[in-house]
Assembly symmetry: C2
């Protein structure tokens, strides 16, 4: 990472076998090897440069061997840019049934067909190496929040031991491996987790187990305690985050990478992001609105009026979800570009303040949203 600092925010570059990326950046989520409703050509048009897929989901279907035989994830889904696979720790603990964690592995039943699966750190590395993304994530033990300090500590310690096993098992030289900081909302546990991970040594460091219902203030406080510990020269990735305002705050604390299902999930539900806040396209007040979602936006959705987009949602036409997903991904790319530019031009604090004000102007999200 080269970097330019203004407040805690940083702009740099991340090099991968599939090209270099300017940081900070946002990764659209392609859980099952597709960003929902968006073909790779349209995805490229949104400004997205790196895409996340999920090893848990792809292990279950179609299986990593089928992906490997096609030449890996990029060839399989036709995406020629960088990719990252999440290990699926989060999905095991949120989606799978009958989860039992031993020191050896997580044991659970597939949420698809109930078949018994054992996911060890070594197996996770094997799966992710076969999937072949540019960045793999360690397998971690994720606990729901709130949980007792004892439970959070136990899972964090296990995640550290699994981190060592992942590091030892990981072989592909053309694939980076990131460790994941755990420890819930306990400042000292987060601190300890980060320090130990740095000792083990990873190509980058992620903050996991956040955006699981703890609220933005607890998330920001946790970031404040962890970020200063992480090495400046390595990329920092805040997993599963988040809303535009969360990204502003996290970038100000030095986070480089994000992923979140919000742009596509909200897009499927007729909620559009703009720099002046969110727009609920089902609202009757858009029925005669000739303007696009956002003036000046060049995406495929903004070729249309809000009234047309509203019609698509009321008529249950899949083009509505498709177009607003494309718009929201374009919005996230533009937002990251604005933040990067502001950092480089040393105007970040001012831009952040202005964006915080303007972004709060729309129709609010009804509830926090996380994803499969």
């Amino acid at each position: 990472m080269e970097r330019v600092t203004a407040s805690g925010a940083r702009a740099g570059a991340l090099t991968t076998p599939h090209g270099a990326l300017e940081t900070p950046f946002f990764m659209p989520v392609a859980t099952q090897a597709t960003v929902k409703g968006v073909d790779v050509g349209r995805l490229r048009d949104t400004g997205a440069r790196m895409v996340l897929a999920n090893a848990y989901h792809l292990h279950l279907r179609p299986g990593e061997d089928q992906v490997a035989v096609r030449g890996g994830l990029q060839a399989f889904m036709g995406w020629d840019g960088p990719m990252l696979t999440d290990s699926g720790g989060f999905q095991v603990f949120s989606l799978a049934k009958q989860v039992r964690v031993t020191e050896e592995a997580a044991h659970f039943q597939s949420h698809l067909d109930g078949s018994a699966i054992e996911l060890s750190p070594e197996r996770s590395m094997q799966i992710q190496e076969r999937l072949g993304a540019d960045i793999a994530m360690q397998l971690d033990h994720v606990v729901a929040l709130p949980s007792s300090r004892e439970k959070v500590d136990d899972a964090m310690q296990r995640s550290l031991r699994w981190a060592v096993r992942c590091r030892d098992a990981h072989q592909r030289q053309d694939q980076a491996l990131f460790g994941i900081v755990q420890g819930g909302l306990e400042e000292d546990l987060r601190f300890k987790s980060a320090e130990k991970l740095i000792d083990i040594g990873f190509d980058g460091y992620a903050i996991g187990g956040l955006s699981v219902g703890e609220g933005p203030h607890a998330m920001y406080a946790t970031l404040r305690s962890v970020m200063p510990v992480l090495p400046l020269q390595k990329p920092r990735y805040l997993m599963g985050v988040g809303r535009p305002q969360d990204i502003l705050e996290a970038v100000s604390q030095g986070v480089d990478m994000f992923d979140c299902v919000l742009p596509t999930r909200c897009g499927r539900n007729a909620l559009a992001y703009t720099l002046n806040g969110t727009i609920r396209l089902r609202n009757a007040r858009h029925s005669l609105e000739e303007g696009p979602i956002e003036e000046g936006c060049l995406c495929a959705a903004c070729r249309h009026s809000r009234s047309y987009l509203r019609h698509l949602f009321l008529a249950n036409e899949m083009l509505g979800p498709i177009l607003v997903s494309i718009h929201n991904l374009t919005f996230y790319s533009r937002l990251m570009g604005l933040l990067r530019e502001a950092i480089i031009e040393n105007r970040f604090d001012e831009v952040k303040q202005n964006l915080e004000r303007s972004l709060s102007g729309g129709e609010p999200l009804s509830s926090a949203e996380n994803d499969a």
Copy 2:
């Protein structure tokens, strides 16, 4: 229509306020002002040049006034090419509830909310003029087949009287109006319907009330009795048809225009068209298939392997329906292009024979399919 003849098939041009079209051509169906799952940019890429929308559906939602205030259908949906609106006669008699036909109008309840609607020939013209497509269709009285000769005759006669009223009520100079030949499978009734419509005088003539379960042979026989009656210099449109083999046959009898939901409906159901027949992408035998749906096809779907497309359908990802709809529309455009080329090069009979053989090679359709 200029034309080049070889057997009964003809190639020509149709001029509309939104540009000229080479015939014969196929219109993708945008019932509710969108081709299901395909944005207008991708739609243009399929080779489609004219699109059909449905006045019945658009009258119910969002209403022709909302479309007119946006500047008409083309502006509303962002499609800059020619369009045609079906009057909705077929939908009234297939979708609406409590249908009662008087000489004055069709009376029925909306299939959306049960509200009472009266659709007269004059009202249909008003709605279609407000929608503003390049071609409007007369309101006709459609009966299900099989029906008694008496019932078919009665509906055909009423359709003729409504045709006169449509002709008289239609005012827009920049919109063509087509009459619709009815008469079920009764050769003499079809003949009479066609003759009378020609007396009334329309910009083009459609064959309606076919592809409603009567089987291909009855359809072809009906075409054979009607087509020779229709004036050579006017476009001929076979409504709601059809399968590639039906199009081959109809083109050989001099039909110029087609529309059908098959390419998109089949696309949503993982059935892909190729020159070597249909492919069912859910079939296990495609799970390791590295090749695309069709070698040499340049569509967005054919950038991908069949195994990836199969994965999308098994994973219930909307990108599967999107991509295969795009492929099928591209296939229909290519097919029409091949037929036109064959007509111009005076090789139509040979090409038709070869295509009939190759198209029958795939996995067959499970059932006839018609649409909303």
